[in-house]
């Protein structure tokens, strides 16, 4: 049985006509035929090509830049340095209503803060000439001390990387979260475990390198095609920094090749490309190479988590204390959000009334950490879940049973301060145990062979939407055309998740029309209503709800209009399968086109509905099972099988939802076992900015995944109860694997990625200890 049959079986009890069906994704036809236009596919007459000069030093003041040789090269049309661009301090993470953004970036500064930061840009008639010109730019630096680690940068004597007055290179003042009485809790504990967890630096490594194309018209209006998750944020920041009104900036995103959170930021290129286009009076394309996409991109926050918990003999958690320290890299980007969300997450998942948490985020001269699927929670729940496994063993419980006992339940206070709806986590853990014959597998004999197998379970919960950190808003316009077809105009960005299909399904369901009757207009800030962007697992939850509200508005108008035609009250009417029907009894019905189309010389009714939705928060849940095989001679760990169970309230498109889960697992396996973007700690240089050396699991490395989606805790805030799913899978898989490794070889690791060499060394140490 393949994945979608299984999901369909699980979800068979429902009366929806479109929602919950794996309709053919309307946004993929163009992708499979090659017709989909990505920003890099845009070609305009007279277009120039731009390249960025990047620093080869991590921390320095720029003494001088000599661009004369570059400008003299045949075919070079313009060169920009920090002396040629507006000096406007702006935030890398441009959420407009977030209290916590950090304005710490200039387009180009007279100072560089990480190895590979852009210091100049060139536009030329070909990419190859632009590259040669970049090589001809001579930059003289006054070196500053490179602060590459949290320890070095947070030393009170360390020089500040940004002059924000906070000291110790804090990106934001430390975050404190307290509930109950932690000291009293530890006093009641029978077992206290204290550990430090060390977190590597995975990067999103989306397939489409960052790219944008800029064109100014004669009226001073900029059109930019760019690969972003947040077109309106790009528009707002460009307008602010370039000093033009919002109606003079148009941002177009037809399709984009993945972002996974990171493409919420601006990457210097948007500004430089726009300015080069303005300077030369010609369209300009600026496309990163793969290496630049690593070097100038955004990673997950590396860092350290010190975690201490007190447990009672009967298996309760009575105290939890943590210090979370994230390495923000050279700029703040999403540091504030990630620190807040990641730290606060430790109030939950496993019940504990007494909690004292502290979160810090530190500037260093290393690559910029930004938003990345799982947003701080990947890190903190890795630590929390690993410690639960350890505590279970020390207290004599089965780890899955122990997690089940302590799982958050209906009414518990969520990290956002809201009561949790439903028993989603409990349901996920139970289902994983049933589905995998957990207890039977745990009793399995473990021969002392070279290759040893182990099983593990990892759990998570994650909020749909960024509330309360950001007060979000989703907007949609739904129009019904005179033939009964429907146009959805949405600000929701198409990240590749299938959001537009899901939104169309919701609109079709709400309006009682077939899925095929709905078409989508998206991706143009001049046309679609404002949207905050596609992130925080909220596109279906937030954008879908807005679309549902807009569709409901249209439905009301249709029924009001059809009522006299059917000689009935609007309240007695419904729309089913494209017909307005009288709900109670009479067989009367009217084709939608007859109800709303032009009649007897009268024009058609204008049917436009607008939906605006400002969500609060809901939580989705997951429990993952992983089986691993460890080669005890080489230290290699292979993931043999993953069984993810996700509770997401209401599944709109089962295959698309499963696709999110399976893709998240792929990235999470990478995080846990092989992916780490490494810098040289002597000079801050990137050591592996390529797909050869940044080790993502590929087709032959990926195990079979048996995806199960359940709908036991629908959320009243989402469309038909739907909640987010995008971020959840990447959080649960890591602990599942680490716990499985322990089960296989009896070694607990407290970091990621867990490399073969570390496994081998740990096994050697263990063997030596046993001998002694």
């Amino acid at each position: 049985m393949n994945t979608h049959e299984r999901i369909d079986r699980d979800l068979s009890e429902r009366d929806f006509t479109v929602v919950g069906k794996s309709v053919k994704r309307s946004d993929t036809l163009e992708k499979v035929t090659g017709a989909a236009r990505y920003a890099g596919d845009v070609a305009l007459p007279g277009m120039l090509y731009a390249k960025m000069k990047r620093s080869n030093i991590a921390h320095a003041r720029i003494k001088s830049i000599d661009t004369s040789k570059a400008l003299a090269l045949q075919g070079v049309k313009a060169v920009l340095t920090h002396q040629d661009v507006p000096r406007v301090l702006h935030a890398g993470s441009p959420h407009p209503r977030s209290a916590s953004v950090t304005k710490d970036q200039y387009i180009l500064d007279e100072r560089v803060r990480y190895w590979g930061e852009g210091v100049a840009a060139v536009a030329a008639v070909s990419e190859e000439i632009a590259e040669r010109a970049v090589a001809l730019i001579e930059v003289e630096y006054d070196p500053l001390p490179g602060l590459f680690t949290i320890e070095a940068a947070s030393d009170p004597a360390a020089p500040p990387i940004h002059e924000n007055g906070l000291g110790q290179n804090y990106v934001l003042p430390p975050v404190f979260v307290t509930r109950g009485d932690v000291d009293k809790g530890f006093g009641e504990a029978d077992l206290v475990i204290e550990r430090e967890y060390d977190l590597g630096r995975p990067t999103p490594a989306y397939m489409e390198p960052n790219v944008c194309v800029s064109q100014w018209d004669g009226n001073g209006k900029l059109t930019m095609w760019t690969s972003t998750q947040s077109a309106f944020m790009v528009r707002g920041t460009l307008a602010e920094v370039l000093g033009v009104p919002l109606n003079k900036v148009r941002v177009i995103v037809d399709h984009m090749g993945g972002g996974f959170g990171a493409k919420q930021d601006l990457f210097q290129n948007e500004f430089l490309c726009a300015l080069l286009a303005r300077r030369t009076g010609r369209p300009v394309k600026m496309e990163f190479s793969r290496k630049e996409t690593f070097v100038g991109g955004r990673s997950r926050h590396p860092g350290k988590i010190w975690l201490k918990q007190g447990f009672t003999r009967d298996g309760r958690i009575v105290a939890r204390e943590a210090r979370v320290t994230f390495n923000s890299g050279a700029y703040g980007s999403h540091g504030p959000g990630v620190t807040n969300v990641g730290t606060a997450a430790l109030t939950s998942l496993y019940r504990c009334e007494n909690v004292r948490l502290e979160g810090r985020c530190i500037y260093t001269n290393s690559p910029i950490a930004g938003a990345f699927r799982g947003y701080g929670v990947v890190q903190t729940y890795y630590a929390l879940d690993l410690m639960m496994d350890e505590a279970a063993e020390k207290l004599g419980f089965d780890p899955a049973e122990f997690k089940l006992m302590n799982a958050v339940r209906e009414g518990d206070m969520a990290p956002s301060g809201h009561p949790i709806v439903g028993h989603g986590l409990v349901d996920c853990i139970r289902r994983v145990m049933e589905e995998t014959n957990w207890h039977e597998l745990r009793r399995r004999e473990k021969p002392e062979t070279v290759k040893r197998r182990g099983i593990g379970i990892g759990c998570e919960m994650h909020g749909s939407s960024a509330y309360p950190g950001i007060k979000e808003q989703g907007n949609a316009i739904v129009k019904m055309n005179e033939d009964g077809t429907v146009t959805l105009i949405t600000g929701t960005a198409g990240l590749g998740t299938g959001a537009h299909t899901a939104l169309s399904q919701i609109v079709a369901e709400e309006l009682g029309v077939p899925f095929e009757a709905v078409s989508v207009v998206q991706g143009d800030t001049d046309i679609v209503p404002w949207d905050i962007g596609a992130f925080a697992s909220h596109t279906t939850y937030l954008g879908g709800r807005a679309a549902q509200l807009a569709a409901a508005d249209v439905r009301r108008q249709v029924l009001e209009h059809a009522a006299p035609l059917l000689k009935a009250e609007p309240g007695d009417l419904a729309i089913r399968d494209g017909f307005v029907v009288v709900a109670n009894g009479s067989n009367q019905s009217l084709r939608l086109s007859e109800a709303v189309g032009p009649q007897r010389g009268m024009p058609a009714v204008q049917l436009v509905g607008v939906g605006t939705y400002m969500p609060t928060k809901s939580y989705s849940f997951a429990a993952h099972f992983a089986e691993v095989e460890v080669d005890t001679e080489t230290g290699e760990v292979a993931v043999l099988e993953v069984v993810p169970v996700h509770e997401i309230g209401r599944v709109i498109h089962p295959i698309a939802a499963a696709g999110q889960i399976e893709g998240g697992i792929q990235q999470g396996i990478g995080h846990t076992l092989s992916e780490d973007y490494v810098i040289d700690l002597t000079d801050g240089r990137s050591l592996n900015p390529s797909f050869v050396d940044y080790k993502m699991p590929l087709s032959m490395d990926m195990p079979s995944i048996r995806t199960i989606i359940i709908e036991t805790a629908p959320d009243p805030g989402g469309p038909y109860g739907a909640k987010g799913v995008g971020e959840d899978p990447i959080i649960a898989i890591g602990p599942a694997i680490a716990n499985a490794i322990y089960d296989a070889i009896g070694v607990r690791f407290h970091h990621y990625p867990i490399t073969p060499e570390q496994v081998l060394n740990a096994l050697k140490t263990k063997a030596n200890e046993t001998r002694q």
């Binding site: 090749g257 793969r290 032959m700």
Partner: protein, 161 residues
């Protein structure tokens, strides 16, 4: 200095004037205006630029355009039997969720086509082996493999393989 390169692209004769240091990928995307073939790394690590050259899948980023003189090139744009009729692979990728962000998709579909041309009934392991050089960061590969298997089954049933 440019050189005139004559090849067959998707069954049609095609003559492009390209610089000698131009790759086939850049020539197809720029001079050829065929942007369906994607550039994900430009050094042969990701497979997004996979095209079929004289019957064999290759990374277009690792072929000089000048080397394609006289070659028959197939790209994603040429796969559909008719403009309103997707190829079975394209159909199954849509049905099974084999495309998410879609950036790797043209390369993966071309690689899958080359596989099915050679082996009409590939096992899961054979599909994974064939796609080893095509990076997909969205799907975890499960849905891609479902789509390729379903295509193979359909093509076998239809007797077109």
């Amino acid at each position: 200095m440019n050189r005139l390169v004559s090849m067959t692209v998707n069954g049609e004769p095609c003559e492009l004037s390209v610089a000698l240091n131009r790759t086939l990928l850049d020539a197809l995307r720029n001079e050829g205006s065929l942007t369906g073939t994607k550039k994900g790394c430009d050094v042969g690590d990701c497979g997004a630029c996979t095209v079929i050259m004289d019957g064999r899948p290759v990374n277009a980023c690792l072929v000089l355009a000048a080397e394609a003189e006289g070659a028959a090139i197939e790209t994603i744009e040429g796969l559909q039997p008719a403009y309103d009729k997707p190829h079975a692979l394209q159909q199954k990728f849509m049905e099974f969720g084999g495309a998410q962000c879609g950036f790797c998709t043209p390369g993966i579909i071309m690689m899958a086509k080359a596989l099915l041309d050679e082996n009409p009934d590939p096992s899961e392991d054979e599909i994974r082996f064939a796609l080893a050089g095509n990076i997909c960061r969205c799907t975890g590969y499960t849905k891609i493999i479902d789509a390729v298997r379903a295509t193979a089954e359909e093509l076998r049933r239809a007797g077109t393989l």
